[in-house]
Symmetry: C2
Subunit: 547 residues, 2 copies
């Protein structure tokens, strides 16, 4: 296998561990816990795994452990550092007892159900240390939520003598990990289930989970290319760059990238929703920044847009809902209408409010909303090129303002979408250390017989030696939410808090960033060199943890 | 000004110089030179600057130099390292005599004509050392080719007491630098003009200019994100990523990125043209790779496409030419036709060959070809989203093959275009050193009274200390070419040579890369750390210079 010189050099990196994990450890139990809401309902659903205490690992006496086998699953979208969770887990169980074995289930939770697995030996692990991607065993999106899946899984776990399963995933996967932990506990199958917090989106966090892994590296990679584009923008001085950033359900990535690169505009979906902004409000806001900069002779700029924006605009949500209902009921009639009359037909049929919004949309987006539907007949919002939609509407508004004499500049746009560019980057030192520590901590939770816990590493803006490792009962993070029409116990998704320090820092500076050209150029992630360059945590973490 | 920690740390980097430039230098003259072709015609056009000898700088005795002022211009598209050319030039002239001054003309050659300039003092230079972008003075695309521009320039040069002008640009800008050198020499204005080889496209190179600056950093930045996408591709195992790379007139960038990342497919425009391949040939080639991988159960892959591909497909060139002519003559009639009949109308009017090709194009591209025209009525080829065009046509072909039972896989595509992401990246050590050396060398050419030379630094795969610095008469690189209907003296553009070592290395491995998943992950550019990671030249240079 050909490797780049960086791959070869980086393989030798020894991730930093919290001091408490370096030798033998003992689990210090905290108080019993409660779920964040709906305590009674959650307790009823999780009689065996509810209310367990918080755990912190501290230095302890060396102890002997009987040999055991452990399984591991990567679930959902890729995030930098997944391989380090697995190598930390591997090193942890090998330290407990060199006879311990690690099995990886192939291509996600489906591998457990379909009995598709391989043993992860030292040779294999060494190939993947400090690398990006999930390719060591692959990932998948199968949801583990049905009893027959749990039973199929149990078959193979029993066959392989697996005592504990580690599920590396986002909020849904960790919810399901807890359901599985509860099921196996209720059945007395003797199999523990431990979760690990993964997602570049950064929306799996709370008091005990400071950040999900991958967020650091992904945001730094996006910020690198955003910074490069800003520098280009500021050199050529003739384009507005509209940059969409991955992250459907929360704007943490856009916010972090804005804090790192100081663009002229960054839209935060959560704010748009809270302020009940319309699409036209968002367009007007951007157009005003463009016009103000043009008045200073600056016909260039950079705009960051979170991928999920459309679904956070209340009026767009209502339009999409009516369109879904209308086309479900009248699909046949709609399909019989000649293509060039479909737009007028829809405008004539929708309620006044939604009809006006639909009529205001650029042709391409209107067509996408009425034609590109998923197998359930729903609009595929993810296909909407929000960056182009916004730049087109901004251009239209500026043209109108020009006629009114309110704007006198040039507006030319370039478009970018960054997502796949960062999900599999080689983990930054932070993610390499954090992931390795999460995996290592998982092995200690297993050794201590725990189930239904998420591996937790805290105090992450301090040097790694001072990080605090332990476990958090997954039920502690849960509440009841309506999903597909049913009330379900789920881990609360962490959206951007408008009263949180990161958003407040952004909001305090954005007017200056809009007007001035205050770009910051983070450059590429560095793995060697000064610690202030290589080991800096995200701005989000720094602001959240600033005392 | 807020700066990232990398910006701060990187500012302290001291670029490496060739050993010969470290102390006092003397110019060693080589033999008289000839232009690469059309010697008689070029000599006639450049009586004062033709046939000059090659120059190499070697260690010499310290000498005193009278104070002088120097001007500098950034011309054309951004390339990483431009600021280091300027800081090398600055340090060079200050070493000659601390009283020397450097003036920068603002926003490209237009700054010279419009007398828009600023003095570049030590404070300003220090702010920009080792940074990406051209924002120190901005760049522009005004072409210096008319006498009145030369005279307007002379006015300000005389006023500022400028003895020499350094023009940092691509092949056209350097051609114009030579025309200007010849003009000022013929007029006895006493102003020297020196060129510096810039372009990320890599198409300004020859025996004496081993590479243009910026190519190294830009290709490494693109290869970083391509490698990340490959890793994602290989983890999720469900998408084909079609990645278009900047570079209109040559495929050096695509080729270099392919050598660095080993994708499943990379199209090289020069090969497509040489083999007289049709669009359908290109589509069939990609579809066959997709089908072969699908037969192995691999429904994923990565395809690299050079931006200029369409214009290298002989049949597409003919179609575009006929379309341009036809619509120029029949524009009014065409515009009167209802939108949904325009396609059929064009199909009915073109010659049989072109009509068939037009009919085979996806709707969106066909519309772009007939509607989106520049002010001269010509098709805007650069607006064509070649990456989407190819994936759509590949998808169609695969669907046909599926019906015929020749293909049984899943095909789902993602699209990317990388250009602005790399043009302003902070220069790699190679580009930081190379650019600084080019600028420093320019100061020595000036000190030695030279004009019509390009700054040249060779032996660039050796450590920087062993690099060979000197000057090449620009006329030596010229030939006569037809441009806009007129024969003009121009620097020969270097396209990818199909018998060159880089292409041959690629061609020898691509069948294996297509079938296997042999991805290499270069990762982000490193500025600190082991030399084999930080100082590696491009694969192109390594292969070209391998003995």
């Amino acid at each position: 296998m050909t490797k780049s010189s960086l791959q070869i050099a980086r393989a030798a990196y020894q991730p930093k561990l919290p001091k408490a994990l370096k030798g033998a450890v003992v689990a210090k139990m905290g108080e019993a816990t409660q779920s964040v809401a709906d305590q009674e309902a959650i307790q009823k659903l999780f009689p065996n795994t509810y209310g367990m205490p918080l755990i912190q690992f501290v230095e302890g006496e060396a102890k002997e452990f009987a040999p055991m086998n452990v399984g591991v699953i990567l679930s959902g979208g890729q995030a930098p550092g997944g391989h380090n969770v697995i190598s930390g887990l591997f090193d942890g169980i090998k330290k407990l007892n060199p006879a311990n074995k690690l099995y990886g289930f192939i291509l996600g939770p489906g591998g457990l159900v379909d009995h598709n697995y391989k043993e992860l030996t030292a040779d294999i692990i060494d190939e993947y240390r400090n690398t990006g991607g999930f390719d060591i065993i692959g990932s998948g999106r199968t949801k583990l939520e049905k009893e027959d899946q749990f039973e199929k899984g149990y078959e193979i776990l029993k066959e392989l003598g697996i005592k504990a399963l580690v599920i590396i995933g986002g909020d849904d996967s960790n919810t399901n990990a807890c359901v599985l932990a509860e099921y196996y506990a209720a059945k007395n199958y003797g199999i523990q289930v431990i979760g690990c917090p993964k997602t570049i989106d950064g929306d799996l966090k709370n008091d005990m989970i400071e950040t999900s892994f991958g967020f650091d590296t992904a945001c730094k990679t996006y910020s690198e290319v955003i910074g490069n584009i800003e520098r280009d923008c500021n050199s050529a001085r003739k384009y507005w760059h509209f940059i969409k950033l991955m992250g459907r359900s929360a704007s943490h990535i856009a916010l972090e990238c804005a804090l790192q690169t100081q663009p002229n505009v960054c839209i935060i979906s959560e704010e748009v929703e809270a302020k009940n902004m319309s699409l036209d409000d968002v367009v007007t806001y951007i157009a005003q920044v463009v016009a103000d900069r043009a008045a200073d002779g600056n016909n260039f700029g950079t705009v960051l847009i979170p991928e999920g924006l459309i679904e956070f605009i209340p009026a767009m949500k209502r339009l999409i809902a009516e369109l879904n209902d209308f086309l479900a009921a009248n699909g046949e009639e709609f399909n019989a209408i000649p293509a060039n009359e479909q737009r007028a037909y829809i405008i004539s049929k929708l309620s006044a409010e939604n009809s006006a919004i639909y009529a205001s949309l650029p042709e391409g987006v209107a067509r996408q909303l009425s034609l590109d539907r998923d197998p359930h007949g729903n609009v595929q919002v993810s296909l909407i090129e929000t960056e182009k939609l916004l730049s087109e509407m901004v251009g239209k508004k500026l043209a109108a303002w020009k006629k009114e004499g309110k704007y006198n500049g040039k507006f030319s746009a370039q478009h970018h979408f960054f997502g796949y560019e960062g999900r599999c980057a080689a983990p930054s030192n932070f993610d390499a250390d954090y992931c390795y520590s999460l995996g290592y901590t998982a092995s200690m939770l297993i050794a201590n017989g725990k189930t239904g816990y998420m591996s937790s590493v805290r105090n992450t803006t301090a040097p790694a030696a001072e990080w605090i490792a332990g476990g958090v009962p997954i039920t502690m993070m849960m509440n009841m939410e309506r999903r597909h029409g049913e009330m379900k116990p789920v881990i609360q998704k962490a959206l951007v808090k408008l009263d949180g320090a990161p958003f407040k820092a952004f909001a305090a500076q954005r007017a200056a960033w809009a007007k001035e050209t205050a770009y910051v150029y983070p450059g590429p992630i560095q793995y060697f060199g000064p610690t202030e360059v290589c080991d800096e945590p995200t701005k989000t973490l720094q602001l959240e943890q600033a005392k």
